[in-house]
């Protein structure tokens, strides 16, 4: 992957980090480090991002009431801030998922129809005398 592609992917990822977080938290409460690992693992290491960007996104989601956090002091290690999806967060995830799917579908339609149109045009062939007026 070249620099341009990486930059493009980073931008796409940046806008969708909250959706990824909500999606991951749908299954179980997790701390920040775990969220990063689950995203990495589920994407088959395809989605690599600067992990620090997770925390401002988590802060935003918590502020909006989509997730809530609590310090977990029960484990042997140091206390960890564990995030849980709220009911509003679940609704938001559904909305975001629907919006993402509709966006992808629209993009696919445009890409595919363009390719399709070109193919149809090529198949018909252009008449040599068909000059623009």
């Amino acid at each position: 992957m070249d620099d341009g592609e990486m930059k493009e992917e980073r931008e796409l990822l940046k806008g969708n980090t909250p959706t990824l977080i909500l999606s991951v938290l749908q299954d179980a409460p997790l701390h920040g480090y775990a969220i990063a690992r689950v995203i990495e693992r589920r994407s088959g290491n395809a989605l690599r991002f600067k992990e620090g960007t997770l925390y401002p996104a988590l802060q935003g989601l918590e502020r909006d009431g989509f997730i809530q956090s609590a310090w977990d002091t029960s484990s042997a290690g140091p206390a960890r801030k564990v995030y849980t999806l709220t009911e509003t967060g679940g609704t938001e995830l559904t909305r975001r998922t629907r919006s993402w799917q509709s966006f992808v579908s629209a993009i696919n339609t445009v890409i595919n129809s363009t390719v399709g149109d070109l193919k149809v045009e090529d198949a018909k062939g252009r008449k040599p005398d068909a000059q623009p007026i």
Binding site: A34, R37, V38, Q59, A76, P78
Partner: protein, 271 residues
């Protein structure tokens, strides 16, 4: 030892229920975090980690309460230690592992700025015209007016001038103060920067006004009654006094803004 960075096997070949996947992943992570948590960075690496966290927290000093910053710091510290431990498991030396962890986490300043942006978002203001900037501008403007009044009254009391000041002085003081405060607090300058920059701005304004007055006097032919050297000295004094006045205004504006910001942050947190 199984590494958490090992690529995930294709889902099709090893179907897993989502809960199982989470449990497996988090299970590893808890174990990893547990071991890594006991392995605090060595005393040599500790300053590197602390320096990184300091840099990350700089933009948030006047944005978040101390408690919120400490919590955020602890949370990120835990993440970085776990990440460094994971790199160590992959064979990196402790120093290299920490460096790699910091690389993967991202630039401290960028993350700090993202936090700041998130923190300001509920105010519904663009970052460039944030509450921080507004409080800075208003506070410095008010400090400028207040000091202008005090200076005028003191000069009248000392017999240095007869007039208690014109309304124009107050308008000018407010405009200059707000401009200085707005420009300074857009970049959240230190108190020293505030003193120097505001002093410079006031001196420049005084110089421009002096030139304007001299030009006006030349046009009205009243220039001849003054000796040029004496006039130059008078205006040099004016510029000097203004720069000093500006510096004091900058300090006052800076202190008031910091106080207001703390108050607002506390209110915001408690709300």
């Amino acid at each position: 030892m199984h590494s958490q960075f090992e690529p995930l096997e294709p889902t099709d070949s090893q179907p897993l229920q989502r809960h199982d996947e989470i449990a497996r992943t988090t299970g590893e992570m808890v174990t990893s975090a547990g071991t890594s948590s006991d392995q605090e960075p060595t005393s040599v690496l500790e300053p590197l980690l602390e320096h990184y966290l300091d840099r990350l927290c700089v933009p948030l000093e006047n944005e978040m309460s101390l408690q919120a910053r400490l919590e955020m710091r602890a949370e990120i510290r835990g993440h970085l230690i776990s990440l460094a431990a994971a790199f160590e498991e992959l064979g990196s030396a402790p120093a290299v592992a920490l460096y790699e962890a910091l690389q993967q986490f991202g630039a401290a300043e960028t993350i700090g700025a993202s936090f700041m942006k998130q923190h300001r978002a509920p105010l519904g203001l663009e970052p460039t015209i944030s509450l921080h900037l507004l409080t800075g501008a208003v506070a410095t403007g008010l400090a400028s007016i207040g000091l202008n009044r005090i200076a005028n009254e003191a000069m009248v009391a000392l017999g240095m001038q007869i007039s208690h000041g014109e309304p124009f002085d107050l308008v000018l003081a407010l405009a200059l103060g707000m401009t200085a405060g707005g420009l300074l607090w857009r970049r959240r300058k230190s108190t020293l920067d505030a003193a120097l920059s505001t002093g410079g701005l006031y001196a420049a304004a005084a110089a421009v006004l002096s030139v304007a007055v001299v030009t006006m006097m030349a046009y009205t032919h009243s220039f001849g009654v003054y000796q040029p050297q004496k006039l130059a000295l008078t205006y040099a004094e004016v510029v000097g006094i203004y720069s000093l006045f500006g510096a004091v205004t900058g300090v006052c504006g800076s202190l008031i803004t910091r106080g207001l910001r703390r108050l607002l942050t506390r209110t915001n947190v408690s709300a």
